[in-house]
């Protein structure tokens, strides 16, 4: 599915490198990334395991620049080759515009190549691709190794449709750009064929051959069923959809409920919005009321605090007055004690003796004796 974006003037094509594990798909992309001019290439993204095996995909965007006013881009993808990664491998194939099947030429790997080709066909059919319409080329890689299968044998086994093929040595870059150029051309021709259906016949002669891989019968039926609604006109499609929806609604009650819920949801939304607005208004009113209350409270507290302060000051004053009143009494008591002490000191017999005149007389007498003795 080529993406054409008129707003960005951009055409985008998806090319997938498919093939068995270790056949050199990622090596193809690495070489292109290494050698392509820097203005054309983007960053190479590799979703790989620790052992450098592709886990999901490798991705390399290529921009070949302006072609008739359109920036033309190719997105190159690889798939994980190992058999057990089929789930992710299939995802990469979604919306593919062109395919490169990278086959390992070694004789021992022939079985793996065949298996991978069958897997590719199965996956494409599951997506509902018509094989003849999908641009695809073959790349027989590792031609430099010994013990490789002959081209004739590979063609016979892998390429019954007679698609174009290239011999390659991916590690040395042999045949890589030839492959890329060829598949790009096929993809663009195919895109042109889509937009100009009259010229389609020429394309088919270039791309595809009458031999088609035979899909399992059951899947064919599925394909037919899938392809029916695409051809039907839009009104009929809409009718069918409506019928399907009705059937679903009848068959499963839950589905009906879900649908009802979905229908109700917009109304609920409007109601919710109204509710939210009402709630907001109520909140605002509440807030204003609260603010008023708070202000009142503040005023009250101010008055209270002022009165408290007055009370306190009064109390303090009273206390001070009391203290002042009590203080002289205390002073009196101290004076009394002083007098008492003085009385006690005076009345004590020791002090009495010291302070008697006889002591002074004795002192004088001793002093007179000292002077008389010297003489």
């Amino acid at each position: 599915m080529v993406s054409i974006n008129y707003a960005f003037r951009e055409i985008c094509c998806k090319i997938v490198y498919y093939g068995p594990g270790l056949s050199g798909k990622t090596t193809n992309l690495i070489y292109i990334h290494k050698k392509a001019p820097s203005q054309t290439k983007g960053e190479l993204i590799s979703l790989a395991t620790d052992a450098d095996r592709t886990l999901y995909f490798d991705f390399l965007p290529l921009d070949i620049g302006q072609v008739q006013g359109f920036s033309t881009k190719f997105q190159l993808y690889t798939v994980p080759g190992q058999v057990y990664y089929n789930a992710t491998r299939k995802l990469v194939l979604r919306g593919v515009d062109g395919l490169v099947f990278v086959a390992d030429s070694q004789a021992a790997k022939l079985e793996e190549n065949i298996e991978s080709m069958h897997n590719l066909m199965e996956n494409l059919e599951e997506y509902g691709y018509v094989l003849e319409e999908l641009p695809m080329i073959m790349q027989y890689n590792k031609r430099d190794l010994e013990e490789v299968s002959s081209i004739e044998e590979l063609e016979r086994v892998l390429n019954p449709r007679g698609l174009l093929y290239f011999e390659a040595v991916a590690v040395k870059g042999v045949g890589i750009f030839d492959t890329l150029k060829c598949v790009s051309k096929l993809v663009l021709e195919k895109a042109r064929g889509k937009s100009e259906p009259e010229e389609k016949k020429e394309l088919v002669s270039v791309v595809a051959q009458p031999k088609v891989f035979v899909p399992p019968s059951a899947r064919k039926e599925e394909l037919e069923l899938k392809s029916v609604p695409e051809k039907v006109s839009e009104s009929e499609v809409l009718e069918e959809r409506a019928e399907k929806e009705l059937e679903k609604a009848e068959s499963v009650d839950k589905v009906e409920e879900v649908e009802q819920v979905e229908q109700i949801k917009p109304i609920e939304k409007a109601e919710k919005v109204e509710k939210i607005e009402k709630m907001e208004e109520a909140e605002r009113v509440e807030r204003e009321e609260k603010i008023e209350e708070v202000e009142k409270l503040k005023e009250k507290t101010l008055i209270q605090s002022q009165s408290e302060i007055k009370r306190e000051t009064l109390e303090a004053k009273k206390a001070l007055e009391k203290e002042i009143l009590e203080q002289p009494a205390e002073v009196a008591t101290t004076e009394k004690t002083k007098h008492f002490l003085q009385e006690k000191i005076i009345t004590s017999p020791m002090l009495k003796q010291k302070k008697t005149k006889s002591a002074w007389g004795g002192f004088l007498w001793r002093w007179i004796e000292k002077i008389a003795g010297r003489r």
């Binding site: 993406s3 392509a36 960053e43 072609v67 992710t88 995802l91 150029k181 889509k194 100009e196």
Partner: protein
Amino acid sequence: MQEDNLIIYEDEIEKIDRALIKLIKGAEAKCALLVDKDGHLITRQGFTHSLDTTALAVLLAGSFASTREIARLVGEPEFSVLFHQGKRDHIHISLVGERSILVIIFDDRTTIGMVRLYAKECGEELASILVQALQGKKKSEPAIDSDFTASAEDRLNDIFKDEN
């Protein structure tokens, strides 16, 4: 082929861009991308200059595709919303219509709830735009003619001529 070419015109992109800008402003997201399920970027809005949007689109589409397979294995038809939480930036991915993915990158300036709300609204709008685009597609003129393929071939030969 399974599906027709994805063709997008300027007036559709304008409509989509307007919806994305509204989403970014409303949800206070960093940027929003609309990606095709196959990994093609349809359009982008917001601060995307520092991002490799091509690679981002491809990887996100891959991530979404693998999640859908997981859903199928679990028995769900599809996980319609995917959310990646990071330390600074987070990514919200949601399905739009049948073949597009809306990717919103946002940080802690907003909340996941806001992003989800706006993503759902925007998704419905985008889905209707894309349906209209598909219906009006048949009137379109062919973009790729024989001259185009010829000149594209010349470009390819020019670019890779030294490598052969």
